[in-house]
Structure formats: structure tokens, C-alpha cells
């Protein structure tokens, strides 16, 4: 199995140079994506077989590459198997989607070589079992995704996105590098040695903070999220899906691996830090998403929200584990991992939908779309499923993981620490707020772009996308529904991971009556997605049949009523900005420093009235802009060094030498 996994990854790596050759050929992209689809499916199958195997075998292998005295260690344990499954299910879906979508690529030579390399990078991060291979793979993953972000490099916006992404990725890797440096204090870099080693509480806390910065910046936690909404939408849509749906999960993997596995028993205040970062990320992410009008940017911001929810789950798991309540920790941990899987499914689906819309209309701006449900009915159905699922509404999968997180929050009064007792109700409120705002956000996304009337001719002439793209979308939509109405098997699949990471697991769910999920005890809480779904479906059908049969089934088409003033101009419809205006007025003045400036022409003038809305990203202004200014200031000062005479350079070299010798001597 391990060999098969490593060979598959090697094949992905080999496909990268092949991509250069294939990009010259007309059917090259189909060949390459087909190959990626096969390899990813194989890897997903390996991961699932390992995860579902009741004996939970731990496989490892060492290859003589990398550092000569270390070699490259690889290992599949339940945690790695779970994330391997997520990565490759996402990868397989993206490859299937790209079979159709990739045909429209203008410069395939800029995408094809990097795509398999990027997939390989994510796989190696999950598989690697020593710090050196982990970091090299992490950086490889960052660089290949950067190359994909700037693949459409003629748009100035994408170049800026790529630049910021590169800086932030470098910063994140630096933090992880330091974390591993501190972890492997004795020079032992393989994970087994790190796990066995002992370290003081201060060192462990430093590692936690560094990991939170390193993995958190890749996952998009506020305030390290600034690159994410720029970079994710800039890439081609199937890559956006991978970056948002899968790469953020690799970052979560890094966090779980280091904090839950390598670092040993947690301090109680670690969970405070994680919760204090995760919960605001959830709420702020979705608030930002609600203010956007670019479909892909809405989805990117909503990724920040979902990563926040995952980190809330992980923070709760840390809190319960520190309080020696392993069974509740298992509940919170399972909720987090289930949300990892769910988010990978529906976020990929939504990015595919956005990509299909982009292909069909050439437009990402919602304000120019509208009425696509008539032009692209199948894409619309898949998108609708994704929107309902991501809004955490039953009977889809997003609800199950949020429900489990809420159940974990409800058990937290049993914690003894006062800090946690005060922070957890606020976390619950922020999470509830995020869930409600997410529904608003996706009503807007679907309502403005797919419903109503077409706002621009391009949207009016859109064509349904090809069958590969549709197949990828419907596969994921089906996954969202299945995971929503049969959550039991999915929870059971996560059980071995929870057992190895937090020392306990949720009760076996598939053996419950009627496939209900019962986190603790039935008298406490239970949810049965299947029954709810069946009941709703049944009563809707009964109502429909009864009314059509006994009352009336006649229907006439007529112009819209609109209180007697229907206007054929599509510009009278609510737009994305006007839809979010009430929410902006409620939350925006505080968080975005939003200001509305209305300009009325003087009486008698025929000039149009104008309403300008200013929103400012306060985090950018407070955190990023000063750093940028400081760097610019410093470079300007150091710039003089470029224009010295050779004599001065030589004296500089001499001075440096003397200084270093002095340091050595002392």
C-alpha cells in the first residue's frame, strides 16, 4: 500500500514535465487531467482502504533522498489517511472538472506542468514523516500554487495577488521552520523522535504559537488572511477549488499533526488562543464575503469563515483534552474533521460552479449576471445544493458538522477554567452569527447571479457547460447530500483519527437505531438527517399531489405583478451591493468603517444623483500597511549601498570580517 501511494505521487511528479510537452498538443490537457484523475482516484482509494480497515494499519517507508543522514520518512497513520482522502477526493474532482474546463485555457503551458506538481506537493506534505520532507513539500506546494495563481499574469490584479501570496507563504513557512527547529531541539528531525522527546512548557507554548502563525496563515485565519481572497480567485477555477477546498485543509493537517500529535499534552490556555483566533475568523470571514460582488472572491472569503469553524472545533478539542475530558474532546475533534471534509466537498463544488459561470459568460461580477437558472439549469441545481450545504442548513452535510460543534459547546460548562467559561459563550455566539450570515451570503450569491433577469447580454446568452464539468459538480453535490443524510458512516470513519489524536472517539454511530446520530446520549441530543429529509420530501409531495388533485392545477403566465409597476428594465432589480446594504449598515460601520456618501444634484440640475459607499479593511490598514511602509522606508535607506565605489565596498567587507572575528573571539 505504502509503495503504491509513493509510486502514485511519483507519477504525479513525473506528469509535471510531461505537462510541458502535452501543452503543445491539442488533446494534451485532456490527457494530463485524465491521468491526474486516475492517479488521484487511486490515492483516494488507498487512503480510504486504510482509513476503513478495522485494524488501522500504520504504514511507513524511508527513501534515501533528502538529508543524507536522515533520508525521507513517509508514513500513513489514520490522521494522514483521512487528510490523504480529502486531498485526493478534491484532486480527483478538480481533475474531472478540468477535463472540460481546461479546454478553454488560453495558455495551457502555464497551467499544465504545475497542476500535477501542486497535487503531488499536497500529497507529500500529508505523507511525510520527518520535518525536513514536510517543510520541503510545504514550500513546494506553496510555490507550485503561486505559479498557478500568476498563470494569468497579464492582469495586474493577479500579479499583485501573486506577490502578496509569495510573501505570506514565505512568512508562514518561516514560522513553521522555526517551530520545527524548536521542536527538534536535539537535532532529531523525524517525527517519531520528536514525538518521543520531552520539552518544557515554555518551549511547547512557543511551538504552538509558531504553528498557529505558520499553518494559520496558510489556512487563512484572521488576521493572516489578507493574501487568501486575492490569491484564490486569481487562479483558474479548478485550481481555486483546490486551493480553497483542499490546500487550506493541508494547513489544518499541519496544525493537527504538530499540536495534537507531536507536541504532547496541551496547556489549558492554548485552547483560548486557538478559539480567540478561530471564532472571529468565522464571523469576519463571512462578513467580508457578504460585502463582495465577485463570485470567486465571495467563495474565498467564505473559506476563511469555514476554516474558522474548523479551528473552533480544534480549540474546543484542545480545551477538553487539557481538562482530561477525552470523550467530549473526541466530539469536538470529530466535528472539526467532519467540517474539513464537508468544506472540501461544497467549496470545491461552488468554485466549479463559479468556474462554469465564468466559462459561460466570461464574468465573475455578480452585478452583471442574473437569470442563469434558465440558461444553465444543471449548473444552477448543483450550485443551489452547494449554497444550501455551505449555509449549514439541513438536510445537507454542512449542518451536521456545525451541529456537532454546537453540541461540544453545550458541554463546555463542565470545564473548570474560568477563562474558558467566559470565552466559550462568546465563541458560540460568534459561530451562530457566522452561520446566519453565511445563509445571507449565499442567498445573495445564488439569488443575484442565478435568479432574476439577466443584467447583461452576456448572461442572457450563456450556454450550459460541458458534461465533464457537470459530472464533477453533480458528484460533489451527491456527496454533500449523502454526507448530510447518512452522517453516521462518515463520523465512524473519523473515529480512528480521534482515537489516535485525542485518545477517545465518539460512540459508534452506524449501529444506532434508524441511523440517528447521537453524540453523547439520546436523551441529550440526537439528529436524524434521513428521517428529516424523508419527512420533508414526503409531506411536500403529499401537499403537491393533494392540491393538484383536489383543488386546482391550472396555471397562467402573465407579466410580473410588482405592485402594478412592473419595469422591463433589468437594472431595477436588487444588485449584490444593494442586497447587502442592510447588513452593511448593521455591522459595517464598526467593522469596515463603512461610509455612505449621497450626492444630490441641486434643484433644477439634470445631473444624476450618486451614492458612494466606502469600505475600508481595517486589518489591512492596521497590520499590513505599516509593515509595508516600514519595509519601503528601510529599503530606501539601504539603497545607498548599491552605488558605492569599489574602495568603500572593500572597506565594508573588511569591517564585516573584523566584526565577525570579534564575535567569534568573544
Amino acid at each position: 500500500m505504502m509503495q503504491a501511494a509513493l509510486w502514485s505521487v511519483a507519477m504525479l511528479l513525473a506528469l509535471a514535465p510531461a505537462g510541458i510537452a502535452l501543452s503543445m498538443w491539442k488533446h494534451g490537457s485532456a490527457m494530463l487531467y485524465g491521468a491526474c484523475l486516475l492517479v488521484s482516484s487511486a490515492l483516494a482509494a488507498i487512503a480510504l482502504l486504510n482509513l476503513l480497515d478495522p485494524s488501522h494499519p500504520v504504514l511507513d517507508a524511508t527513501l534515501p533522498i533528502g538529508l543524507p543522514w536522515l533520508g525521507a520518512h513517509f508514513r500513513i497513520d489514520p490522521l494522514a489517511a483521512f487528510f490523504l482522502a480529502v486531498v485526493n477526493l478534491g484532486g480527483a474532482a478538480a481533475s474531472l472538472f478540468a477535463l472540460g474546463y481546461g479546454r478553454h485555457e488560453e495558455a495551457p503551458g502555464r497551467v499544465l506542468p504545475f497542476y500535477p506538481a501542486y497535487l503531488a506537493g499536497m500529497n507529500i506534505v500529508v505523507l511525510s514523516d520527518d520535518a525536513f520532507s514536510f517543510l520541503v513539500a510545504w514550500e513546494f506546494m506553496s510555490l507550485t500554487s503561486w505559479a498557478l495563481v500568476v498563470s494569468h499574469h497579464r492582469e495586474a490584479e493577479n500579479v499583485r495577488a501573486g506577490y502578496i501570496y509569495l510573501l505570506m507563504a514565505g512568512f508562514g513557512t518561516l514560522a513553521l521552520l522555526l517551530a520545527f527547529g524548536v521542536l527538534a531541539g536535539n537535532g532529531q528531525y523525524d517525527f517519531a523522535a520528536i514525538r518521543a522527546g520531552h520539552r518544557s512548557a515554555d518551549v511547547a507554548s512557543a511551538v504552538l504559537l509558531l504553528t498557529l502563525i505558520g499553518a494559520g496563515s496558510k489556512a487563512g485565519l484572521v488576521p493572516l488572511h489578507a493574501w487568501l481572497p486575492l490569491a484564490h480567485p486569481a487562479a483558474p477555477s479548478h485550481v481555486s477549488a483546490l486551493m480553497s477546498g483542499v490546500m487550506t485543509k493541508v494547513a489544518v493537517y499541519g496544525f493537527v499533526r504538530i499540536v495534537f500529535d507531536l507536541l504532547g499534552p496541551p496547556e489549558w490556555w492554548w485552547s483560548m488562543v486557538v478559539l480567540a483566533v478561530g471564532a472571529p475568523s468565522a464571523t469576519l470571514g463571512v462578513l467580508y464575503a457578504l460585502m463582495q460582488r465577485d463570485i470567486k472572491r465571495v467563495l474565498a472569503y467564505s473559506t476563511i469563515e469555514n476554516v474558522g469553524i474548523v479551528f473552533v472545533g480544534l480549540g474546543l478539542a484542545l480545551a477538553f483534552r487539557a481538562g482530561a475530558m477525552n470523550s467530549v474532546a473526541a466530539l469536538a475533534f470529530t466535528a472539526a474533521l467532519l467540517h474539513v471534509f464537508n468544506h472540501a466537498a461544497f467549496k470545491s463544488l461552488l468554485f466549479f460552479g463559479a468556474g462554469s459561470v465564468l466559462n459561460a459568460t466570461g464574468e465573475r461580477d455578480m452585478e452583471k449576471l442574473g437569470g442563469l437558472i434558465r440558461r444553465m439549469p444543471k449548473t444552477a441545481v448543483a450550485m443551489l445544493v452547494g449554497c444550501v450545504a455551505i449555509s449549514a442548513l439541513p438536510p445537507f452535510n454542512g449542518f451536521v458538522s456545525e451541529w456537532l460543534t454546537f453540541q461540544a459547546i453545550l458541554l463546555s460548562p463542565q470545564l473548570t477554567s474560568w477563562g474558558l467559561k467566559l470565552i466559550i459563550p462568546a465563541v458560540g455566539a460568534l459561530l451562530a452569527l457566522a452561520a446566519a450570515l453565511a445563509a445571507a451570503c449565499f442567498v445573495k450569491l445564488f439569488g443575484v447571479s442565478f435568479l432574476g433577469r439577466a443584467r447583461m447580454p452576456l448572461a442572457a446568452g450563456a450556454q450550459e457547460v460541458d458534461r465533464f464539468s457537470l459530472a464533477a459538480m453533480f458528484a460533489l453535490a451527491a456527496l454533500c447530500l449523502i454526507a448530510g443524510i447518512f452522517p453516521g458512516p462518515f463520523i465512524d470513519a473519523v473515529a480512528p483519527v480521534a482515537r489516535t489524536m485525542v485518545g477517545n472517539s465518539m460512540p459508534h454511530q452506524t449501529s444506532m437505531e434508524w441511523l440517528t446520530i447521537v453524540p453523547i446520549a439520546e436523551s441529550r441530543s440526537s439528529y436524524n438527517g434521513l428521517l428529516v429529509f424523508t419527512f420533508v420530501l414526503l409531506s411536500a409531495s403529499i401537499a403537491s399531489i393533494a392540491i393538484h388533485r383536489f383543488a386546482s392545477d391550472r396555471l397562467r403566465r402573465a407579466p410580473a405583478w410588482d405592485c402594478g409597476y412592473p419595469d422591463p428594465n433589468p437594472a431595477i432589480q436588487y444588485t449584490a451591493d444593494s442586497f447587502s446594504q442592510p447588513v452593511r449598515r448593521v455591522f459595517g460601520t464598526l467593522i469596515f468603517a463603512a461610509r455612505e456618501i449621497g450626492e444630490m444634484p441641486p434643484p433644477g440640475s439634470a445631473a444624476p444623483a450618486r451614492l458612494t459607499v466606502e469600505t475600508r479593511d481595517l486589518i489591512w490598514r492596521a497590520l499590513y500597511a505599516p509593515i509595508g511602509q516600514a519595509v519601503a522606508f528601510a529599503t530606501e535607506r539601504i539603497n545607498i549601498l548599491q552605488f558605492l565605489t569599489i574602495r568603500r565596498y572593500l572597506s565594508l567587507v573588511f569591517a564585516a570580517l573584523v566584526l565577525l572575528l570579534l564575535v567569534l573571539a568573544i
Binding site: L451, E522, S525, V532, V536, A551, R557, A560
Partner: protein, 318 residues
């Protein structure tokens, strides 16, 4: 035998909420009219309206998509199922474990999600304004009710409605500050969610402050009947919810005899009447708010609920 009995009891409950919902609305309308010294429509007028609407043709806007025609059934089914899972005359219904309180609220959330989409479907300005205001109200009301549920669930040790109802009926509860705060928050949310005065006016049609009516402006015939019935069911659901959590007297225990069930049913009708009277008096004595005052109103509910939860975290007895 018990299974059959339980099934009948669950089926009865489903029929009961469906039949009682229009009556509750009719009662409140009649009472409000009497309080304003008007004659008011007859008590049974909502039933007549529903039947008349169902028999009429549907006039569908030319720009409406298939989703617009499906949504009334989804909303109706979701609300009906949610309403049948809330204990009315007795706790311990057969399927009450299939969705706990959080799931019931989320089910209502699904219904609202689709209603807001319906408002956007035809592509008129009125639909959009209704939807955008509805999601603004929901974005505050939903967290408020979830936190209220947290407070109650932490006290009762369960999110299962039947368990909560039984716990509230037992003597273990006592007077608690957090429960009082939760009750006020729940009432505020119930008023907002059902579009009652002072948040929205269910009786007006052409007013720029309208929310719910603006979203359903394009509906007619059987579709409108279903949507009306759903909002009546939703009102009944919230009243039942308040009744079962904060007025648990008289409700039949699980597997109770016929007499207990009859007593439960009678007290339930009494509770409905009491809540209806309170709502009617409240609505006639207060004016509608401006739209941007609503966030403050709901924000108060959110803060009260949060305070209730915090009290529970800080002390087990408050």
C-alpha cells in the same frame, strides 16, 4: 401496540398543528380588530381564504423559474415538519428524537433560505428589498434564538425538546434569572421571526417597510395559500415552543393515558389562547419600528440570551 399508539399520536399531532394554525391567526386577527373597535373578520376566515386561494388559478410571472414553483412546497413541508416536532399536548412523541431543538431551528432556517430566494426569482425591486431585509433580520434573530437555546439546553442538560419539556415540568427547575432572560429573548425573536408588529406588519401590503409581504408579492393561488399556511404554522410553532419550554403545565407525559392526553390537549388550547391574547394586546399597543431600529431590538435579544448563557457558565444555580 405501543408503536401503533405512538404513530397515531404523532399523526394526530401533525394534523392538529395543521388544523389549529389558521385558527390561531384568525383568533389574533379577530381580537386585534375588537381591540380597535372594529368588527373584524370571522374566526374561520383564514380557512376560507386558504380554500379559496387553493381553488384559484396560479398567475405566474413570465420571468419566474421552476424554482419559484417548487419553493412553496419546500417551505410548507419544512415548516410543517418543524411544527410537528415541537411537543404540543404531550411530550415524548414518536419521532421527536429525529431532530433536536437546534435542528428544528435550522429547518426553519432552510425554509427562510428558500423564501428569500423566491423573493429574488422574478427579478422585481420589491422582491429584492424583501429578501435583503429578511436576511438582515435573520442574521440577528437566528443567533439570538440559538443562544437562547444554548441557555435553556445547558440548564436542562439536553437539546432534545421532549427532555427539556419534562425537565421544565419537574420541580428541579425553580426560579432562575437565566431562564427569565432567555424567555424575554425568545419572545423578541418570535415577534421578529413571525413578522409581527413592531418588526413587520402582517396586515399591510403597500408599505415600504414591509419584509415578508414583499418577498411573496408575486405569489398567487395555491402557491400563496401554501406560503400563508406556512407562516401560520410558524406562528403556532413559536407559541408551542414558548408554551412547552416555559409553560409546561398540564402536558401529557410520554405513554400517558387517554385522560392525560385530553387534559394535555385542553391546557394546550388554553396556552394558545393566552399567548394569542397577549400578542394581540401587545401588537395593538405598540407602533411599528423603522427598519434600522430592528437591529437594536434584536440586538437586545441577542445580548439577553448571551447574558443568560454566561450566567449559566458562571454559576450552576442562576
Amino acid at each position: 401496540m405501543t408503536l401503533v399508539r405512538d404513530l397515531i399520536s404523532q399523526g394526530l399531532q401533525m394534523l392538529l398543528v395543521l388544523l389549529l394554525a389558521p385558527l390561531l391567526t384568525g383568533f389574533i386577527r379577530k381580537l386585534k380588530a375588537r381591540l380597535l373597535r372594529r368588527q373584524g373578520p370571522p374566526l374561520l376566515q383564514p380557512y376560507r381564504d386558504l380554500i379559496r386561494l387553493m381553488r384559484k388559478d396560479v398567475v405566474l410571472a413570465e420571468t419566474a423559474s421552476w424554482l419559484f414553483r417548487v419553493i412553496p412546497y419546500i417551505i410548507f413541508a419544512g415548516t410543517w415538519i418543524a411544527a410537528s416536532l415541537v411537543p404540543t399536548f404531550g411530550s415524548g412523541l414518536l419521532f421527536s428524537w429525529s431532530a433536536d431543538l437546534i435542528a428544528i431551528i435550522a429547518l426553519l432556517g432552510s425554509a427562510r433560505f428558500f423564501l428569500a430566494l423566491a423573493g429574488m426569482d422574478v427579478g422585481t425591486a420589491f422582491g429584492g428589498i424583501g429578501s435583503s431585509r429578511e436576511v438582515m433580520i435573520a442574521s440577528l434573530a437566528e443567533p439570538a434564538i440559538l443562544i437562547t437555546v444554548f441557555a435553556v439546553a445547558m440548564i436542562a442538560g439536553s437539546t432534545q425538546l421532549s427532555t427539556i419539556a419534562e425537565y421544565m415540568g419537574s420541580s428541579a427547575v425553580g426560579l432562575r434569572v437565566s431562564l427569565g432572560l432567555a424567555l424575554v429573548a425568545l419572545i423578541i425573536v418570535a415577534i421578529a421571526e413571525n413578522g409581527r408588529i413592531p418588526v413587520d406588519n402582517p396586515a399591510t401590503h403597500l408599505e415600504l417597510t414591509m419584509v415578508h409581504e414583499a418577498m411573496v408579492l408575486e405569489y398567487s393561488g395555491r402557491h400563496l395559500a401554501l406560503i400563508d399556511l406556512s407562516s401560520q404554522l410558524k406562528l403556532l410553532l413559536y407559541v408551542s415552543l414558548i408554551a412547552c419550554m416555559f409553560m409546561p403545565w398540564g402536558a401529557a407525559e410520554p405513554r400517558a393515558g387517554d385522560l392525560a392526553l385530553a387534559i394535555g390537549a385542553l391546557t394546550y388550547i388554553g396556552k394558545l389562547l393566552a399567548c394569542g391574547i397577549l400578542l394581540a394586546v401587545f401588537e395593538t399597543s405598540i407602533a411599528k419600528m423603522r427598519v434600522f431600529r430592528i437591529p437594536e431590538f434584536l440586538g437586545a435579544a441577542l445580548m439577553l440570551a448571551l447574558l443568560a448563557t454566561l450566567l449559566r457558565f458562571v454559576s450552576g444555580s442562576l
